[in-house]
Symmetry: C3
Amino acid sequence: MPVLLSPEQAPDLPSLLNAANTAGLEYTLPNPEAAAQLRVRGLGSLTSAQSAEVSFLSNPRLSDQLLSTQAGAVVLTPADWEQLQANTATPAFVPVLCPQPYVMYALLAQWFDQHRIQNLPAGIHPTAVVHPEAKIGAGVSIGPFSVIEAGAQIGDHTRIGPHCVVGAGTVLGQANLLHAGVTLYHNVVVGSRCIFHSGAVLGADGFGFAPAPDKSGAWVKIAQLGQVIIGDDVEIGANTTVDRGALEATRIGNGVKLDNQIMIGHNVQVGDHTAMAACVGVAGSTRIGQRCTIGGAAMLSGHLVLGDDVHISGGTAVTSNISAPGRYTGVFPHAEHRDWQRNAAVLSQLSTLRQRLRKLENK
Amino acid sequence: MPVLLSPEQAPDLPSLLNAANTAGLEYTLPNPEAAAQLRVRGLGSLTSAQSAEVSFLSNPRLSDQLLSTQAGAVVLTPADWEQLQANTATPAFVPVLCPQPYVMYALLAQWFDQHRIQNLPAGIHPTAVVHPEAKIGAGVSIGPFSVIEAGAQIGDHTRIGPHCVVGAGTVLGQANLLHAGVTLYHNVVVGSRCIFHSGAVLGADGFGFAPAPDKSGAWVKIAQLGQVIIGDDVEIGANTTVDRGALEATRIGNGVKLDNQIMIGHNVQVGDHTAMAACVGVAGSTRIGQRCTIGGAAMLSGHLVLGDDVHISGGTAVTSNISAPGRYTGVFPHAEHRDWQRNAAVLSQLSTLRQRLRKLENK
Amino acid sequence: MPVLLSPEQAPDLPSLLNAANTAGLEYTLPNPEAAAQLRVRGLGSLTSAQSAEVSFLSNPRLSDQLLSTQAGAVVLTPADWEQLQANTATPAFVPVLCPQPYVMYALLAQWFDQHRIQNLPAGIHPTAVVHPEAKIGAGVSIGPFSVIEAGAQIGDHTRIGPHCVVGAGTVLGQANLLHAGVTLYHNVVVGSRCIFHSGAVLGADGFGFAPAPDKSGAWVKIAQLGQVIIGDDVEIGANTTVDRGALEATRIGNGVKLDNQIMIGHNVQVGDHTAMAACVGVAGSTRIGQRCTIGGAAMLSGHLVLGDDVHISGGTAVTSNISAPGRYTGVFPHAEHRDWQRNAAVLSQLSTLRQRLRKLENK
């Protein structure tokens, strides 16, 4: 971890766990004296953590690394701890026993990140252009050169980085974090506790055109009058785009997580807690259920319906509805180029191949 | 539709149609008295429009919605209107009979969007940095923190949002609209009436490198000295990139529509009225004809030639020339993961499968 | 080439070659008198170059163009020159004989581009916001509205365009070029002589979440505490994103070239001199060797290892490790839509097709 707390800032392990464990996870410290003496300056993986850092074991296949880790403390399950003690002499690290080490790691990482962010400047930078008819809540920070247009509303404790635009009539709830260079067009609605990364664009026009009546091949733009409505606790990655609806809204549910460079077309609906990896494209009017996962670079055609708990593998093109929960895939496997050439050439004959097989079978 | 006109701003239906129908579409109002009394505050779909909103029927399969719509008026074809009257009692809405309801909807939506945009501030924002050697036309607006470099030219009535860059020597025609955060490098040429969305980047260097003469594996940059030349009436989506040519120009024809997150490589040529959905990539020097459509996430290799009226399905990789008009596809269909695994495993044996079949046939 | 030097600025050919050939390439001028008289104002292809421009022949298949080119001078191999003289009367252009015409062209293009860039304004623009605790080297230029945060370091002669952000604690080496609108988050480390294009985002959070302990389907964010570390001579294209590591660093080696709209996930490692074409996605923790090339729109799954000198064709999904050098491909070939439909339908039966074939063989 590149930025460590100074030794004076570093909390002792019990205090850190107490402060970071906002989810109320159960945990025990079998060695409370050593824990109280450990001042924690950062986090690290089992192979890289140093003596003032906490590490964790979430994948049992990596339990060998417990024998050699330099970490000052390790979060691990009671079962892994028991097994370690059965196989080896007492390890050098301070154990933190927790049934969910990965969640505890997430909470610890949030604590360290918060510490960093609290060092950032607060308030409205003098260069920001805030329209007199915008409503700015308490404890809001707005970075240099950001633009807040007429009728925009910024909820309490929302932080906005440099070079952001909050368009006319756009409403942001509380405690959102907009990194540098986020652009929200007009009449976008955002819940609370969202995180938007640099280059994200919410509310650009959906892609709608009617063929010109003169049959010249030209296109008549369909102005996009709808909204983008984002729930609470949504994270949107760098350079991801969510287009506004044609007449109604493009809707992103609560707790949705979108990675970088994702494209959400107009009128799309994404259900609560669905997560998409980078480079996914979702074409217009498609509805995705709750708790789905969409692998990287997957592509969903327009006007589809995907049910809840549907999991799409990376690189898959989804071109028809999927109602049943489960995992779905459609990827051409890679091979050495010559082998691929040889086999790909047969693809254009698959149908006749089947006919020839039938003919043989009917002999 | 989120933003309605106030009742005082709302025009009556005949006036609205008269003002919006800039394409000279034919239409009739069978019930002129009711039409004159309807004050229109917005647009909506058949299922969502309210009594002060206009809706439309462009897909005959949705004609059932005419029976229950709450819309104040509906644009529909004379044939659909006749059929409705044959099947049902007089509907509650005011009919607007037009052979091209979808185009009329497009024009009405443009009218409402124009109304919104006319409310935006005009003029050059005091924070904008405009080089004294730039030429700025009449009625130009430039948003906060935009930068207009030396030798740039901005045609009359072009509107530029906040955080835009118009590079040295770049020329914009008349009545263009650049949303927030559009970056035009130096020596880009843009026609008139174009719309560029946030995060679009035109004129970045094409991807050109020569292997270093020392055979170290290093690359020598080929500086990209060409231009980007954009026609009239072009729309370019959010975070789309169009690279400058190596020596000559990358050219985007008149009336081309590019959705979000599209990548156009250097020296590419795109013919008039071609439209591309989001996430398409076009590699360097490929030439695409007129009136083509390229589906979302399709990929075109470099140095290809596609003729006019070629239609590429979403997700298709095009790796060779296509001269004949028509629709072309190449997508691995998705399936349940286990089924896919079972079938994909055979892909690496297709060539031998064919040989085995031949052997049986020759028995 | 759109921007020519004025006749007064134009160097004679021997002086130009002397100034541009920073790589020490061998070359000869068989006609030194004519060379000395040629004043070079720009570069062009064989088919477009004018009499004051230099062109080059790097692809022998285009040697016919030597007969009709209007170029004032042409860089070509001694062998091509010999063959030309055997087949034809003395050509009109001044020959420059060089075993590596493409590299010489690259160097000449760099020279012309440098000339353009030296005309750009230097120094720190008065609107830039530079934190008093940032360290700014000698000869640094910073464009309008750029933001340099606390603890950032900018090495000598680095040029930063408008609307850039250099985050807290981020370190840039010498002679880097950041075009307009590049965003570097906190604690990013960049070597020297890198070029970053508009819209590039380095250091946004990697995509890491733990399932919430309440099993609601919600996600707990794993704050990303690692870094992005970029080597020397790296070029990063427009709207490309490189995420920061979860605990350690995402690393881009020396001489790596990334085209536009590429996504590099957290903890990825890219070896020296590897080049990726546009729209590639690399998922988290994947390690790519040296001197690899990744074709456009290829997708690499997470946690993979690719060895040195691996070449991936455009559009290929790589879902397993590749250790041996060579070319690898996995693309569904495009076809006319009906043919594709007919053949794609058989894909879901490949496994049973093989079984039926076996059955026949065992008869």
